[in-house]
């Protein structure tokens, strides 16, 4: 009677409710995070950063499934690789659809929380799919545990499970031995004596909850293995690209030349900075655009990590840069990628990198370029370093 009362009292009911809530919660998580994506041919992605807020806040589990390129329209939220074939991915909204010079469809993307579109257009080969559905906060725990902590937790929980299994095995054998010894006792009394103290649903619930914890943590471990995003990236902090400590720098004091003749050049450099208290490491790209009549005749060449110097060689004013060239001299008559997304130029918080540019008037400049003028703008676009 005492045992029957234990199985119907308030504590028994509380245990039972907790167990079933745990079971249903875990089943829902497993269904949304694992089973449904698996059945639908989709891939869950953990949103790590806030550029898609409020649609996809950090911690959201975005389930992405493949989509035909022709079905992608303005407004579709897509997940794409920063570079084709590489693991780093970004989830942003399509804000423009175009056709490139090869007749291939390209997409302009932008984070909902960003003021500017992403610098580089997205090609179909980069696209992993469109967001099918999103589950808030499912990946949120990723914020609170470092990778070593998650690894440790997995080991601890797995060890506890194995200890539990050993204990259950030993106690089961003892019970069997006792049952044999008490085989003379009435059958219903033996059964009552062996009945576990805790209700079976409670144990099942605890077990499944334990499993869920393991499953979730293991998933996080997978994320951790894949990710190189530092903890600082997760904070809703500051991504602040500075150029010579300014948002927009006017180089007219150093990057100006009058009476330029073919064969002459001028160079200037700017420091691309990720200054403190910025909290976000970023990669950056740059695009150049020249304007004015002379702009179409000028050639520009950029160098990373160098400084500029200007002098006179054979009666011609000549500018030069040290550092590593990002490519051959080219016209900036239309917007031209000067520093491409790949190889990525990364700036950690507090870091700085010089970008030096040489503007030259080639000896092939036509005579009708005399007496003209132009200018150039180099636009830098920083993107949060958040990819694994």
């Amino acid at each position: 009677l005492h045992r029957i009362h234990q199985r119907t009292g308030p504590l028994w009911w509380i245990r039972r409710i907790v167990a079933w809530v745990a079971i249903l919660g875990v089943a829902t998580i497993v269904a949304l995070a694992v089973a449904l994506p698996r059945l639908g041919g989709a891939t869950p992605y953990a949103i790590l950063t806030g550029s898609m807020e409020p649609t996809l806040p950090p911690g959201t589990l975005a389930v992405v499934r493949p989509i035909p390129v022709e079905d992608i329209r303005i407004g579709t939220v897509i997940t794409y690789q920063l570079a084709s074939g590489e693991r780093p991915t970004v989830t942003h909204r399509v804000v423009g659809v175009g056709i490139d010079g090869r007749g291939e469809r390209t997409f302009r993307t932008q984070g909902d929380a960003n003021n500017v579109a992403d610098a580089a257009p997205v090609r179909p080969v980069q696209i992993r799919g469109a967001v099918w559905y999103a589950v808030p906060a499912l990946g949120y725990a990723n914020r609170f545990l470092t990778a070593p902590q998650r690894d440790l937790l997995i080991v601890v929980v797995a060890s506890l499970l194995l200890v539990y299994a050993a204990w259950a095995l030993v106690s089961g054998l003892r019970s069997a031995r006792r049952r044999r010894a008490e085989s003379v006792a009435p059958r219903h009394l033996v059964a009552a004596a062996e009945r576990p103290h805790r209700a079976r649903p409670v144990r099942v619930g605890l077990g499944v909850a334990l499993l869920a914890l393991l499953g979730a943590v293991s998933t996080l471990a997978y994320w951790s293995d894949a990710g190189t995003v530092s903890a600082g990236t997760f904070s809703a902090g500051v991504l602040d690209l500075k150029l010579n400590s300014q948002n927009a720098v006017d180089l007219s004091a150093t990057f100006t030349l009058a009476n330029m003749v073919p064969g002459e050049s001028i160079a200037a450099h700017v420091a691309v900075q990720n200054p403190s208290p910025s909290t976000v490491a970023f990669t950056y790209t740059a695009a150049g655009l020249a304007s004015g009549s002379l702009g179409a005749n000028l050639q520009f060449q950029a160098f990373l990590g160098g400084t500029s110097s200007n002098g006179t060689v054979n009666s011609l004013r000549t500018g030069s840069c040290t550092g590593t060239s990002t490519g051959a001299a080219a016209s900036w008559a239309s917007s031209t990628t000067v520093i491409p997304a790949s190889p990525a130029q990364q700036l950690a918080v507090g870091a700085s990198q010089n970008v030096c540019v040489v503007a030259s008037l080639p000896t092939s400049a036509p005579s009708n370029a005399q007496g003209t003028s132009g200018s150039a703008v180099l636009t830098f676009t920083a993107t949060q370093l958040g990819a694994p």
Binding site: A33, V34, T43, Y45, A46, I47, L48, T49, S51, V90, T91, G111, N115, V116, A158, L161, A165, A168, G172, R203, G207, L211, G215, S218, A221, Y222, A226, L239, K242, L243, Q246, A248, V249, D250, L251, T254, F255, T256, A258, N259, V261, P262, G263, L294, N297, L298, S315, L316, A365, S367, G374, S375, A376, L378, A382, T383, Q384, G386, A387, P388
Partner: protein, 153 residues
């Protein structure tokens, strides 16, 4: 034994869950922009030579010489000059005296053009290997028939 099997099954299920899970991190990245603007870059306009004088010396016996002079431009670029008898396509040697540049046109050169006005053309070029030249500066020279006189026209 049943509980032990349950725990082991749980471990197996855990492994299956880990295997099934395919969560991949995605960066909904932030962005920022900045710009660096150049000042004005202006090109040079090569000025035409300004012929300052054309003087004829000599006589009919020894021959006439017309000296065509102009002042060289040295700033902002030191220009170089070439001179040509347009009618003949013949280059003339440009000589200098200080900042003055000049060419001498001998009447003997014009023996096939007696009685006609020949044109001497001067063109300036900035330093370097570019294609730019100035507009031509021209000076006419007339050698009378039989070479009895020469004049700047």
């Amino acid at each position: 034994v049943r509980r032990a099997l349950t725990a082991l099954a749980a471990t197996g299920l855990m492994v299956a869950l880990v295997g099934l899970a395919r969560s991949v991190p995605a960066s909904a990245s932030w962005g920022d922009t900045g710009s660096a603007s150049s000042g004005t870059i202006a090109s040079y306009s090569v000025p035409a030579a300004v012929i300052s004088s054309c003087n004829v010396t000599g006589n009919a016996l020894t021959g006439f010489t017309a000296r065509i002079s102009w002042t060289a431009v040295t700033s902002p670029h030191a220009l170089t000059y070439t001179a040509t008898i347009v009618n003949l396509g013949t280059p003339l040697t440009v000589q200098s005296s200080g900042t003055t540049r000049y060419v001498d046109v001998q009447s003997g050169l014009l023996s096939t053009l007696l009685g006609t006005v020949v044109t001497v053309q001067v063109v300036a070029k900035p330093p370097g290997a570019g294609l730019w030249v100035s507009p031509p500066a021209q000076q006419g020279v007339l050698v009378a028939l039989l070479g009895v006189s020469m004049s700047c026209v």
